[in-house]
Each structure stands twice: as C-alpha cells, then as structure tokens.
Symmetry: C2
Subunit: 223 residues, 2 copies
Amino acid sequence: MKNIPPKSAQRLIRCYHLAQESRTTEKLYLTSRAIASLLGVDETQVRKDMALIEIEGIPKKGYPVDRMIKKLETLFGIRKERLAVLVGAGNLGKALINYPRFSRYGVRIGCAFEKNPEKHFTQVGGITVYPVEKMKEMARTLKAEIGIIAIPPQEAQEMAMRLVEAGIRGIWNFSPTLLRLPPGVVVRNECLETGLVTLLYELERGEGSCISCAGTTSSPSLP
Amino acid sequence: MKNIPPKSAQRLIRCYHLAQESRTTEKLYLTSRAIASLLGVDETQVRKDMALIEIEGIPKKGYPVDRMIKKLETLFGIRKERLAVLVGAGNLGKALINYPRFSRYGVRIGCAFEKNPEKHFTQVGGITVYPVEKMKEMARTLKAEIGIIAIPPQEAQEMAMRLVEAGIRGIWNFSPTLLRLPPGVVVRNECLETGLVTLLYELERGEGSCISCAGTTSSPSLP
DNA sequence: TGGTGTGAACTCCTTCACAGCT
DNA sequence: AGCTGTGAAGGAGTTCACACCA
C-alpha cells in the first residue's frame, strides 16, 4: 500500500469511527456521499482516499464496511496490544484512566506517576500511582511504548525526557508545552488550550458551520 | 486585517503560547528561526504568518513579543469574557471544570448538566449540576455562548441539538460522535480517540511521517 | 553578519468533468 | 438512475532565492 498523505490519514481515522458505527447498526455499505457529508468534505475526496487504501466500492451500493474496518485497523496499528504509562494522576489523568474506550484500540494504562508524595502507592481507577523516580524502572519492566503527559506545563519537558529515557517511543502530550525531544520519538499534542482558542477564533469570525478537528502530531527532533 | 487561512491560524495560536512563555522570561523579541524550530515549520512560513497579521520584525532582532501577544489576543478573541456550559459531569467533565488555564482566555464554565439524577443539584468543583431539562432555561439566562460535550457518544447528538436550541453557537465536542448541526454553529471536535489513533499510526510507521487533525504538521527541534 | 520581506516556483490537496459499472 | 473511478484543472500552502536593512 502506498504511503498515505497526512490529510488522507486524518480523514481515514474518522472513516474508521463511522464504519464502526455503521457496523453496530448492521449497515453493510457506506456511500462516498454519506461519508463525505458527515466528515464535511467532498465526495470525490472520499473516493480518492478509498482508492488510496485499496478499498473497492460497488456502484449503487458504496464501500463495504467490514473491509474498511479491517483495512483501517491494520493501517493504523489498531488492536495491537500496547502498554501506556501516565504521568500525572490529577483530574485529567483520572479521566484518562477511566475513559472506557481506549481499550478498543489495544491500549492499556499500566501505571501512573506523580510528584505529589500523598498519592504515592495509592490506586486511581484501579491503577497504581508511583513516584516519578520509579519511572525508568517501571516503564522498562512493563515494556511500555506510550507515555501520557497530564501535568502542568512547567514540568512537562522534564517528564517527557524521563519518559524517553525509560524507553518510551510515543508521547501523548496533554500539556500546552511544545516538547523538545530526540529524533525518533513521536509526539501527539492534545493541547486543550489550542483547541479552545481555535473555537474562540471561529466564533469571533462568526463564519458558518466549521468543523475543526483536534491537535497536532509531530516527530520532534534534536539537531 | 486580511482573512487568516486556517493553517496560519493554527500556527499563530501556538505562536501565542510561545510569546506568552517568552514574556515570562522577559525575552523581548523572537526570531522567525526560533519560532520555526519550536513549531517544526519553515522560517519563511513564520515570516509570512507575521506579515499576515501585520506584525513587523526588526532585522537582527526578530519580532516584538508584546505586540505579538496584543495582536493575537484581538485576532483570536482571547480575553473577551465568555460563558460556557458543560454537558456531562463525569470524570472528563470534572477535569475540564478544574482545568485552571481556561480562565486565561476569558472562558468560564457557568454550570453543568447531567442525565444521572444522583448528581442533580450537587456541586462539582464549585459548579452546580442541573438536570438536562433545565438546559434551555439556564443557558439562555446565563447567555452562554459555548457548550462543552463530555458525555458518551450515544447521547452526544441529542445534547448538541439541545445546546443549539438553547442558543449556543459554539460546541466543544469531546465525544467521538460526528455531530450533525444546523449551519452557523461552530463545532470543534476534540475527540481523544482520534488523537490516540493518530499516535498509534505514527508509532506503526516509525519516524518521519507526521499527521495532524487540523492540517498542521510539525517537527519541533531544539535551537 | 544575522536577521526581515516577498515575488516566483513548486508541491500537495481539492474539485471538476466525465467515463464506466450494475 | 445512482453510484464508483480517475485524469485534468484549479487552488492552497510551502519553500526557494534573493533584495534589503541595521
């Protein structure tokens, strides 16, 4: 399969959600028009994306939902079992631990870390909280691949570096800090403030209905 | 000021964060190179963005931080007082109520709504939780502009419609549901699952490919 | 020298137009 | 008719190259 351009990938992720939804309602096919209108893009675009991942549609019916799901799951690495560790067991951290839908994607939070000693060795939503000093040891033994940063911005950079030293290859960053990390580490910035400002901006302009989507991803690198 | 293309807007939001950060360290100027390397984009890009919002730089010095902040605040409608209502007082909702940084942008959560009757008229982080039936009445009297959806996907569509009926013009949607709403309503999807899948995809591909939901790709690096 | 400013070239993405399948 | 498939045109965003300024 050819390399997927970023914009297509982004649309395809949302197609995956749509396909999942369709499966629960036992819809076997989705037309490009249906997908396009829900995603807020052009029909042709959807067809091009489908061609890109080599999904063939049937005229008058649409694209087969089950094949879409299968294809997209292998494409995106969904369902592969992966372990994550959480840095920050505050309100946001707790919400992430209790978010029921991550397991669908094969991702499980193995343990959490905190600076605040009061929380050490307590349980949050069934997850044990350790001191940050234990990070290297724990992440290594768990063979965790993903690090989730849910702490205030001042400490984000330091914790991210620690995660990388502990062997983490992908960071899901909920802090507004722009992280500087060695090459090869993938960072997904889920900065809520950026999201809020985007919304404010669109309200300000008062333009018709706009659909904007979450954060940014990057592969930051040290020179 | 000319209309700002979405991609530039995205970058400018992050410039705003950078400028804020610089102000705390009393840096008076930021060069296009410094900004570019942190945002993971080209220098020229940054200069074009600055030209777009009519910020003039000084050769050998860079762009004045204070003017950037001022300009960007008016551009994005930051600091304008706005009221938001929250739908869903679960873990995520609670985290959003307690997120300390939203007030910087003039946004305050006025009240919350819940289906679960056990939570009705209780307080969560200083915010009162009302039954969803009260939404129209409450949102109207508060003159709320923003609705935050932090509930499971099944109910998201219905609640979004209710918000719109209550006069809400901007929706910050944390559920994975793609909302169908009348024109004129601005929706910002902050779907966490999409974010997670994006990260998984990056991990799967390894280094190099970067994707983002809002269309911006970045590879930040240390200066 | 170390930065900004900007037209022009280029690349990538989107939309159009229409052919083909059922 | 109703949909997919795709080359070609069009548009948006990015990078290059170089002028200019302190």
